[in-house]
């Protein structure tokens, strides 16, 4: 049984707008670079660079998307990331790099459990609870670092950290393999959209060339996104995550353990923030107590650009990553092309609001169209059920 695709909807602004926005922005920046005689803006190096810069926000954004789908909210991610980085940098010289990574992530998860338990079992709004932990955890970072920058001074540990974060990974064959898998899936399940995705991935890989490498965080982001996407798309757990956000009471009365899913989202969000913090700590081998301040808003902005609803029940991790790329392309473009950094914030904010407006208006249109279909055959009352 093949499912027919509503092409107008699939490629409409509501569903695909964030992809168009990214493409238009890239073309625009490339044209500006061209006209000013700057090096090719769309070079594989520069594009790889943008993804690298977006990777931490992307990782947190993917988890944030799951969080928003369940109908909750996590403002504390950036503070948690900073805490994880502080734990890593503080402990790595004494207990070694792998153990310190474990300690950092366990610390982050502990904050997540704390957030989730208070929200779920005391019943305080997630916004308020995580606003509290945002401040408190940042305070904890200050206490732990004594208000100064911490640095890893053991060269062997520093080496391990840099290796974890800065290794260049060749992705040509992996990307081709992934594209082939998508194409195979598309043929097997008769899903033209998967074929399209496969072709795009293959084309990008071929354009970038065989020697193209990316930094490790890009690979971590790709793997994490893929894993979460697959769970949401193919598993019962995924559907229940959407159900919990779509109508928690109906989900509960369908026998779904709503508490577990909501708590799980907090744990995932904090764990992802912890991992992003680890990457951040490794990048510099150091942490200063105000690191990543304000990043939580970028993370949420990325999810909103990707069309995730703050009301829960809807959202796509893939589009959140595109949203993060869009934001960092803006940043990168302003820097590389020297467009005047003062305008950056203004433009970023306008983009987020424009995106939200498109999603809201687009959503309404669709609702009206569906309603027509449903009310039309309403008039006659159906006879005999059985």
């Amino acid at each position: 049984m093949t499912r027919s695709i509503d092409w107008r909807r699939t490629f409409g602004l509501r569903e695909a707008g964030v992809y168009y926005a990214l493409l238009i922005l890239l073309v625009l920046l490339a044209a500006i670079a061209q006209s000013r005689g700057l090096p090719n803006y769309l070079s594989p190096q520069n594009l790889g660079n943008i993804v690298y810069q977006a990777s931490l926000v992307g990782i947190m954004g993917v988890a944030m998307t799951v969080m928003l789908i369940t109908g909750a909210f996590d403002l504390s991610v950036a503070s948690v990331a900073a805490l994880a980085a502080a734990v890593l940098v503080g402990l790595a010289p004494s207990i070694g790099f792998p153990l310190a990574v474990g300690a950092a992530i366990v610390t982050a998860i502990a904050v997540g459990i704390f957030n989730g338990a208070i929200v779920q079992f005391v019943g305080i709004n997630a916004f308020i609870v995580t606003l509290g932990t945002l401040t408190a955890v940042r305070g904890l970072v200050l206490v732990l670092t004594d208000g100064r920058s911490l640095m890893v001074e053991r060269p062997d540990v520093l080496q391990q950290m840099l290796a974890f974060e800065s290794t260049r990974v060749p992705v040509f064959w992996a990307a081709l393999l992934f594209a082939a898998m998508l194409l195979a899936l598309a043929v097997w399940k008769r899903r033209p959209l998967d074929a399209l995705a496969g072709i795009v991935v293959a084309a990008l890989a071929l354009l970038a060339g065989r020697d193209f490498t990316v930094a490790a965080p890009v690979v971590y982001l790709a793997l994490f996104t893929l894993a979460v996407w697959a769970v949401l798309r193919f598993t019962v757990i995924g559907r229940r995550i959407y159900a919990v956000g779509g109508n928690a009471e109906a989900a509960r009365l369908s026998g779904i353990n709503v508490h577990a899913y909501k708590l799980g989202a907090f744990v995932l969000s904090s764990a992802a923030a912890g991992f992003a913090g680890v990457l951040f700590g490794c990048r510099l081998g150091a942490i200063n107590p105000t690191a990543l301040q304000g990043t939580e808003l970028t993370v949420i902005a990325a999810a909103i650009l990707g069309g995730t609803s703050l009301l829960g029940g809807a959202g796509s991790v893939l589009k959140t990553v595109i949203g993060a790329l869009l934001l960092f392309t803006l940043t990168n473009g302003f820097n590389v092309l020297d467009l005047g950094a003062s305008y950056q914030g203004l433009i970023e904010g306008a983009v987020v609001i424009a995106a939200a407006a498109i999603y809201t208006v687009g959503g309404d249109r669709r609702r009206v169209r569906r309603a027509t279909v449903d009310t039309a055959p309403e008039a006659p009352v159906v006879a005999e059920a059985g």
Binding site: V236, R239, R240, Y242, V373, A379
Partner: protein
Amino acid sequence: MVDAPLLQLRGLEKIWPNGTIALRGVDLTVRAGRVHGLLGANGAGKSTLIKVLAGAIPASGGSVEWRGEPVRWTSPRAARAGGIATIYQHIPLVPTLSVIENMLLEQRGGWRIDRVARERAAAVAHILGDSFDLDAIVGDLPIGTRQMAAIAQGLMSDPALLIMDEPTASLAGGEREQVYRTIRRLAAEGQAVLFVSHFLDEIVALTDEVTVLRDGRAVLDARTADLDEAAIATAIAGRSVTALDRVERRRPTGDALLDVRDLASPGKLAPTSFSVVAGEIVGIAGMLGSGRSELLHAIFGADPAARGTVRLGGEEAGRDPAEAVAAGIALVPEDRAAQGFIPGMTIAENIALPHNGWLVAPARERAAATAAIDDLAIKAPDADALVGELSGGNAQKVVIAKWLTPYTRVLLLDEPTAGIDIGARTDILRLIRRLADEGLAVVLVSSEFEELLAVTDRILVLRDGAIVAEADPATTDEAGLIQLASGTQSRTEIAA
């Protein structure tokens, strides 16, 4: 009393911007001092008509004459100023404010509540039988009282015409009676009431004139005295509806499939014991607030404070919904939209919700949903239709379909026909009978005692959170059941 009409609609049309035709030329005459019934199946155009009259949406064609003058209201405020008050089905009160503040929402001027306004509110409350405390917070009130508060709010502007959209849909017997008395009193004082309802008996008992809408047209417009329930039902459905007759079933016997022992919840439910055998339909009759939903929630494990045991075929079921579902208990909750389905998900996804396992199987789920659409006669384009966009009756069928799995052995239904038109209602009752015939143990809660009498094998009467009587539907009538459920106290209240 043949005086000039208060409100006269001629050829009223409403075409939505997307081309859907909601009203195809409706004529309607409402006279002062009369109660005018407005009926129609879901989607017949009742809500649209009310919204046009209330000034909430503009008409596309036709004319509205109010007190002999053609009018065209452009906002709800204009209609209210003209003398039309509308009380919507989903009570639009501000839950965090008190009753009096809700009643005064429209007022202008400086002070929040002044003495004159309070006296005026108290007078209106008195007309309604002083059934609520003016300073109570609306969110704390039971739903029946909230309905009275909404009526009070409508009466504050001293309207010449009061439009009521299903004011009794969520009310139990005693409270309904109170609404009826209010309506009769208003009509006696010369106000006109346009009364929208699904309940034929109250239309017949209460109204002076009836208009039936079907497919955007007025298909019946007559004096109520000249009609009977069957004639109205035929007009609504557009075909002859067989009345809901009791079908004698072979009374199932055997060991208890569902066995409830000393199930209690502090403040909601006294220790309650009963059992249901496979294939049996047990009705729960009770007024609003008698603990009907609380009982079902306690059985389903959805009430964490509940104590006692629930056994299924001798095995104890767990004390939370997930374990209850695993044991084979299913609940169709009272409030479809808030508790029953997930509006943003498709029919297939909603039906697949209780399924366990790791991977979703879209093809199998769509096949199951398509089968359910055929089997239960769900009116929807296909299995990918969003449940939030279906009409009430069809959404309810999806909620029931969700539980029609081989694992379900006990079906708890909480007001499964509330707010559903008569055709879909009959469908659902037939379905319940069929499911019991197939071996499910069914517990049915309904405010429609007529329904309980028609489909159940025996009826437990619930009052103040305790089972006070057991009735045999073959030998009991509706009045007897109402008496049992409302107790002596309520009866004196009605008499008074």
